[in-house]
Symmetry: T
Subunit: 149 residues, 12 copies
């Protein structure tokens, strides 16, 4: 089973950006620890990050027929990008949406996700460990459904 981990705009600054809010784990530390979890779960993962909506769409398109599920944190685009929802639906890859912070306790612009209604599930506010929980949840869900490869 092949899982993608996709991070969106400003998440390259994880661990550096507003650490009181987002924590001090950097993106590469996070990706490394997810790789360990993935190995435990017997799945392979590939991690990507981009700041551009178009670049993220291109990455998602690359999942087509090759990736069984995705853990995605599309940052601010989660709240504004219909095109990214369309991209994820286009390639027919089940995904779990993650947010590091509790978006419901922040500004109103972050309360609605364009992605959530198309997601398998959503994990919010549990810090960077939320990615691990999402990965575990996704793999368990996919296990129950069967995979492409």
């Amino acid at each position: 089973m092949r899982i993608a981990v996709l991070n969106g705009p400003n998440l390259n600054l994880l661990g550096v950006r507003e650490p009181d809010l987002y924590g001090r784990t950097t993106l590469s530390q996070l990706e490394n620890s997810l790789a360990v979890v993935a190995r435990d779960l017997g799945v392979s993962i590939e991690c990507s990050q981009a700041n551009g909506e178009g670049a993220l769409i291109d990455i998602v398109h690359g999942y087509r027929g090759r990736i069984d599920g995705a853990v995605v944190n599309l940052g601010a685009y989660s709240h504004t990008s219909l095109a990214l929802r369309d991209a994820l639906v286009s390639v027919d890859v089940p995904f779990v949406e993650v947010h590091v912070t509790n978006v419901y306790a922040r500004e109103a612009e972050r309360h609605h996700s364009m992605l959530a209604s198309a997601a398998v599930g959503v994990v919010v506010g549990l810090g960077t460990q939320g990615y691990e929980l999402a990965l575990r949840g996704l793999v368990a869900t996919l296990g129950a459904r069967g995979t492409i490869t």
Copy 2:
């Protein structure tokens, strides 16, 4: 560390009620499997369920000074009950909100949670395994913060 698991209205019918939507795991099966996870995590758990808003408030009040954190699925009251948010805040117990189904893919009445802005985090749509993920996430978060007992 002492964790409460609280289920709200209609969740006594878990496994029986609309199984295509909510799955076939019953509430007692769920509580048993959470007990196993809790033991692994080295925490004790206590599980409760009630259908009445007042009964749930009473249970929450009982957490005061005795419970370190809670995993709560308050069912439909999540979307309508300010009194339950007040109760959880009153006893100052950090909690993670769980929903078995993806509420964002259902009716508009389920898109807004009265609890979420006061929660540590939210786990949505990952079936009954969402409780386990929430429990793991909560215990890890509390571990980083220290506990009462």
Copy 3:
């Protein structure tokens, strides 16, 4: 065929409460006259009333696998309780919603029903005789569909 009649908050005061609005028939007079109608229709009925949302959910859960249809007037909870809609849907019992007064001619809070979209039908504003009409309508509808028992 077994039909439940369920009355919600403040309907224990029927006949006493604001009689110019709700009429002078008491709840027990109403239940007695519905028993007569039921006998004519060849169905059995059981009548309940409660003021608590949780108590009403418990009663509804008791319908499961035992009741073929319900005539419900959930009073003010009709307009605020998602949990009661969930309960009715959970036990898979077709129901007709009744209101004694014309809720559309009263305050805006009463114009929207949380139950109506899950109901078979709605009877509004025809006084306490509305229960009888709802009962007749429900039995005829169920007759056309077949019943559990």
Copy 4:
């Protein structure tokens, strides 16, 4: 006592139009069976249907001083026509509003009725038998009030 039964736009196609939604009883079958009920109730009825808002207003004006009450299903005009509410109020004829389908389980445009706040009552979702229930409810209500003729 003289009762009018008024059907609005597209109800001439009853029994033919979307039968899964509206049933297979035609308008003339419905009017015939209402005539039987009326005879039982000891009232006379007159039935009309029109597709035009103006034609319906003209029919309603004809009720003035001649008709004691009306059972009306004004179809889509129920949701858009203030002029028809004005017409019914102008001639001072108490009426019960009927909808064959459960409008609250359909598109948002059908959730609000322009007529309902001026009606005696509303019967929704009980199929074509809803007219009979409305007729019985109306006659009983008028009986309690006294009539013109």
Copy 5:
């Protein structure tokens, strides 16, 4: 100068319909007294009334190239009919909108007029004498502009 006076739905019942609200002057009495005013003002008038939106559109189309201005009270259609605004604009006839009652002191549905933004002016709440005021205002306005004939 040739002025049309156009009355819409239910205004044929003027003087009869809800007299406490609309007064006791009938439509023909009103039209007669407007004829007297018109004579004083040195203009000719033609008066029409219809209950149907289509019939009213047909009447308005007949104004084309023949009528210099209109006093219109389109009743409930004022609040719902874009087609009638289009008709009045299509024939390029300046008009003053009249309402017998103070629509701003009545139900919210009557607070917005579809016609008003295309009108020369609006006279509201001054009873049936409002037509005379509108006629005087219109003739004075047209006098300042020049006319077709």
Copy 6:
């Protein structure tokens, strides 16, 4: 019978301010021509103008028990001042609201009047002659009701 004519903010600039919109009649010309009309109608008038909300309230309070009716154009305060509606209601003086321009064809802020629901009537868009029409309409209405003096 004693009638007040009250003009609000910026109407001292009438005839000078945006003449394409408001016309070229100055406030004193308008007041003079209204005096002529008043004489014809056999009523006395007193005219005031102020730019301040408080000053206007003081003027209105001065009407108490001395003035039978008022023609008021409160300019922009019509759309924002609840205090002026309260003042007019406090002194129990029937009034007709006038606007020189067609407020419904201008910015959205001008579409709603705080005064209109408390007015006898409203005359909009007929230029400065609208005051005369309002005065005639008011005197006729008061005549039918009787006056204080």
Copy 7:
């Protein structure tokens, strides 16, 4: 294959009404040129126009079992008439909605169509040639689906 072309209120004035907006092609010129296109496409067409909502519903009812598809421009009723959508759905005739002008660049009242969600497609703003495009698009779509006759 038999195609209906239906024009609604005020479109009888096409070519005459506001020509800068709607162009100078009259309705009969338009219908003639559509007949030529129809002949090329090997389909027969029948063209109707009416100003009344009821009259238009009657025409649509006449399509039942006789017409394979329709090109409709219901003018202002497109934005207000649920009854006409119901009529088109009742007779189960696929249709393409046309607007001569770009309704999205005009008043807000024209931005929402009651018909569009039930249409095959919509052609907006391309002038009277939009009918031809709609006809071609409809015929091609129906060709792919098969027809009644």
Copy 8:
């Protein structure tokens, strides 16, 4: 004169719950000090508290024909419970609504009260002394009106 004091959900935790917000007076201290005030005012009081909406309705029903007025703080139910407003209206007991904190300076969910429009008055933000002020205000108001007993 007999006055009820009714406290709703979470108010059993008064003095303990979020003391910076709600103060350090406990519910029983508050009830005792209100008893002293009541004695001064020459009225008897009875105090109740419950966390359940149904339990509170039951208490209110018990006021019927026995209680002259009530001071109520229904906590979060003030903002969500139509059923409790109905209960208070059903027993026809005048009441003053109290809130310990300034609800208008807190979350938007607390800005609207379901009870206020049915209350005699409202006292907000003056801490636990607000109950005493409400009691004094209620007794004075009832004194002016006369009482049941």
Copy 9:
């Protein structure tokens, strides 16, 4: 301790204006009786009233460094004046907002106060005695906080 009592627009007519709504106590009677209460409480009061927003702002500015707290009823300006909230906040004087009538049972325009979120508390609907209650509440609150002088 020095307390200001400030009344806004139209409150000079207290006792005279709509007595069924506002009661028959005049403003000077009210101010006199508040002076008696103040003496009992051992505080000095100064009372002002003005109808103009600017005049009220000037009065409030005069409180700066001289007044310890204020009881304010700014009438209709409570619902529309951001400038008066700014003025009260500018001089840093704690205040209690009073309304004689129950604003929540009146028109929607009176349901929202611009002042309330900046107030210590609000007393609504308890007639002119509400000022005394507010004064007592304010003095008690200030006593607990300490004062300027």
Copy 10:
């Protein structure tokens, strides 16, 4: 005459992505068939597609002074991108907006287009043939206006 055809995000997957919704014609098949149509119409076309908003803006800027008109389907950006409307307006190129599916029959997010009010026209729901219709409509419109080259 030189026409651009511009496709936005996810349209590179046309024919592959959700074929039940978007059909089985690929983007290059579509572009080829449009080239044939263009040749027939005697115009040249150039086709582009990009997934990034910035990349699409760059392409549009390249139209400046070189392209006479455009057929654009900007996919999800149609509903969210003000920057792309600005780009199209900046280069002053008339365009027709196309959507393959009937966006009005899909999620609410797709009902409003940011582009439509600046477009010549809109063709919706007619599948990939909608591009051809838009191209024909655009060329005919431009022919009537004259072109740059």
Copy 11:
């Protein structure tokens, strides 16, 4: 060139009022430093401040035909006063709107300006130096346009 600087309600307290928000520069210090800037720019300035809406309107009217442009900070009236926008438009004086604080980072009531759409430009959040920037921007803009004197 003659420039007016107009300050509205509560700005007489500049430097004293909430200094953390508004800074410690007093109004007269500000006006003096603007005089220096004006001299550098070769323009004359006159500065005014008032707390009353009517007084401000009077000042603005005094600009007529004498002032070439204005820098205005109307404080809270910016958000509520249509009358002041009308006044500024009435005298046809181009103006730049200034706010000392960043109104977009404060309460929602301050996010919308009634003046902004009629202004040349807006300078927000740059403290009291914002007046100087606005003055420079206004003078440069007027220089490009030419002036009255």
Copy 12:
């Protein structure tokens, strides 16, 4: 002190694009004149422009720890991009937002800025000289705060 000047989508066309709206100064002319101002102010500037949201985020990330403040005009992204606000906040660089045109006098989509609440200040509608004013305002503000370098 090091200041960045960042321009967003379509601003590469400044001076060319809609010159009546945006003026005739090109982007490079603007950047050159800002360089002169910067030299006068004793600060260094670096100017960038991009059309892509991702490209702009990348540029902003490059400011981290190197730039003291920024003058940004993000064009249409100002109104839609939460990701760019996040980027600016992530790198903790104070910024002033500029708009060349008066966005409040244009379409509603431009009335709200996603950036403004996170900005130091906003300069709107003063043409390309607005950048210079923003630069001066920013440097003065930063001077008062101290800088990184």
